[in-house]
């Protein structure tokens, strides 16, 4: 299996703070890779660095064989990277429809794909012409994810999609990610909810202090309580 995204020795500084200390990992094509770790470990910073929102101060980032660490964010997005930031990032003053038209960038919305999205998130169809700012937290998160998948993307970077959401919505999201993966998408997903991560992930990366401290199969980590406690300070049993 080829790697779609590769990070080699990536360092990131934000102001005078050294956030990432030589991050190395690969994301295999067609798989869902989970990026786990405690708060402040550098997960969001890693996604922001890949997206070019923060410039890597050293190291290499390759997407499909093309170096992107010095590219501007819009150029990285146009290479086929969809980004779902944390905190339900919708454009509040625009309608649901306008948010999705904006994400489709150059072309009209694909009706078949839209119906596919409405299959997971029927609320988006119901509030099609409502202002995104008026949606509930879960609906905003759905819209944020829909925006990233409204067109086929090579790679999806998704940051803590289940944060603060009701269990029923989390289940819908897990189902959505599974379906996106079945369609062949490659996903790099940051998640604090270990139960959700276990349900979605193929491979797992664990970060601590701006470095990758563990990489392996998700199933192996899910079955090893001692390793979970060592890496994450919790086990699947205690987290449930």
């Amino acid at each position: 299996m080829t790697d779609l995204l590769t990070l080699a020795g990536v360092h990131t500084h934000v102001g005078r703070y050294h956030i990432l200390h030589g991050v190395d990992f690969s994301v295999p094509e067609g798989q869902t890779t989970m990026l786990l770790g405690r708060n402040g470990a550098g997960k969001t910073s890693t996604l922001r660095t890949i997206m070019g929102l923060w410039q890597a101060s050293a190291g290499q980032i390759s997407l499909d064989g093309q170096r992107i660490e010095a590219s501007a964010t819009p150029d990285i997005a146009r290479l086929g990277v969809g980004y779902v930031p944390e905190s339900m990032a919708v454009f509040s003053d625009l309608t649901v429809k306008e948010n999705l038209i904006l994400a489709a960038r150059d072309g009209p919305l694909d009706d078949a794909r839209l119906e596919w999205i409405f299959g997971f998130f029927p609320a988006l169809k119901r509030f099609w012409l409502s202002r995104a700012g008026a949606l509930s937290g879960g609906q905003k998160q759905m819209l944020s994810i829909a925006r990233a998948i409204v067109e086929p993307r090579k790679l999806l970077l998704i940051d803590e999609p289940t944060k603060g959401l009701a269990p029923a919505i989390v289940v819908a999201l897990i189902e959505c990610f599974a379906e996106i993966k079945r369609r062949g998408a490659t996903i790099l997903l940051v998640e604090q909810n270990f139960h959700a991560a276990q349900a979605i992930g193929d491979t797992v990366l664990v970060m601590d202090n701006g470095r990758i401290v563990h990489r392996g199969e998700m199933a192996a980590l899910a079955g090893d309580v001692a390793l979970q406690e060592k890496l994450l300070g919790l086990s699947l049993e205690t987290h449930q």
Binding site: P74, A77, F91, D93, L102, R105
Partner: protein, 355 residues
């Protein structure tokens, strides 16, 4: 269609706009006096100027203090061309052909060099450039007439003495002055409709996304600097055109009428009073502000006399015409308090209570 799918969305606002537009359309026929004509013209010109500023402030969240500079470039280009080439249409064409590209190039330069930086620095840079331009206009007296500005004559067709339709035909006279008014009225209406089209286009949607969150818009693949620069250039072109119309009406361009920071302050107040991010707010804001500026003093004089005649204590002094600026200030404070989203914002969402 003509409103680009963005109707006023409020019955009261629709009626208000129809009344304003109808009143402006018939002003020269019903109130041919100089003051009424001057006020109506100023409303037309400022409605377009404020709408162009709304494209920046209301739709992209960019605070620029260089808007009067573009307005001044328009005014001076017409004034200098007509002053030096004489009162003919070729001079008007040269003024337009020189003024619009100059305004656009300056907006392009300011945009590309400074829209990358944070909003506060952009505001400071525009303030510095506008100040430099004001000083330049005052110092280059051989070209601009310095502090005195440039007075010029209009082409014959637009002069007050040119009678196009004598009074005995329909009961009202149409002279060159009335023709100039309608030229300004139609040009301003066309500019406002064009801006309405811009903000309701896919480009306008990107601008609103940038206003909401610039980084998110970039993460979707939009080169925000280019979008902001393009908006800056469009706003500058409309502002310069408004400046040209103002110079044609006044037959004069000088620092006080086209470049001063007092005008910039007026634009800001009008856009806030009318409602940011609506375009329609520019029309409502311009009407309220300019009517208050021109008629509040007279109204207060009448109220003061009435209070004095009634023998009321304190009121005659408080309503004395000399205190008109105090009342204008109170009017602004009240309007911002009761209409935090502007008059248009409030009329569109009447349920929203003031903060």
């Amino acid at each position: 269609m003509i409103l680009s799918g963005d109707p006023p969305r409020s019955r009261v606002l629709s009626i208000l706009l129809v009344v304003i537009i109808a009143a402006l359309a018939v002003t020269p026929l019903l109130f041919p006096g100089a003051k009424a004509m001057n006020v109506a013209t100023k409303i037309c010109i400022f409605a377009a100027l404020v709408a162009s500023y709304d494209l920046l402030l209301g739709y992209t969240g960019t605070v620029s203090f260089a808007h009067t500079m573009f307005y001044g470039i328009g005014s001076y280009s017409i004034a200098i061309a007509l002053y030096s080439m004489g009162p003919n249409w070729a001079a008007v064409a040269v003024g337009v052909a020189a003024g619009l590209p100059l305004a656009m190039l300056l907006a392009l330069a300011i945009g590309l060099f400074s829209l990358r930086v944070e909003a506060i620095f952009f505001a400071m840079i525009t303030l510095a450039v506008a100040s430099a331009f004001l000083v330049l206009a005052s110092q280059l007296s051989w070209l601009t007439g310095g502090e005195d500005g440039r007075s010029f004559q209009l082409p014959e067709l637009l002069r007050p003495g040119t009678i196009l339709i004598p009074k005995d035909w329909f009961g009202f006279a149409v002279n060159g002055r009335v023709l100039t008014y309608y030229l300004i009225f139609i040009a301003c209406a066309a500019m406002i409709l064009a801006l309405l089209r811009v903000v309701n286009s896919p480009f306008g949607r990107v601008l609103q996304a940038i206003r909401d969150n610039r980084f998110r818009a970039e993460a979707l693949g939009f080169r925000t600097v280019f979008h902001l620069t393009y908006a800056n250039c469009l706003a500058a072109l409309v502002a310069a055109s408004a400046g040209m119309l103002n110079a044609l009406w006044l037959r004069y361009a000088g620092p006080d009428t086209s470049l001063s920071f007092a005008i910039m302050l007026d634009i800001l107040l009008m856009v806030v009073i009318g409602g940011m991010g609506t375009i329609y707010g520019a029309i409502v804001g311009a009407v309220i502000f300019i009517l208050a500026q021109n008629y509040l003093q007279a109204l207060m004089g009448a109220a003061s006399n009435a209070a004095a005649d009634a023998g009321l204590p304190l009121l005659p002094g408080l309503l004395h015409p000399d205190r008109w600026l105090l009342w204008l200030g109170l009017l602004f404070i009240a309007s911002v308090y009761f209409f935090p989203t502007g008059v248009v914002g409030r009329l569109r969402n009447p349920s929203r209570k003031p903060a």
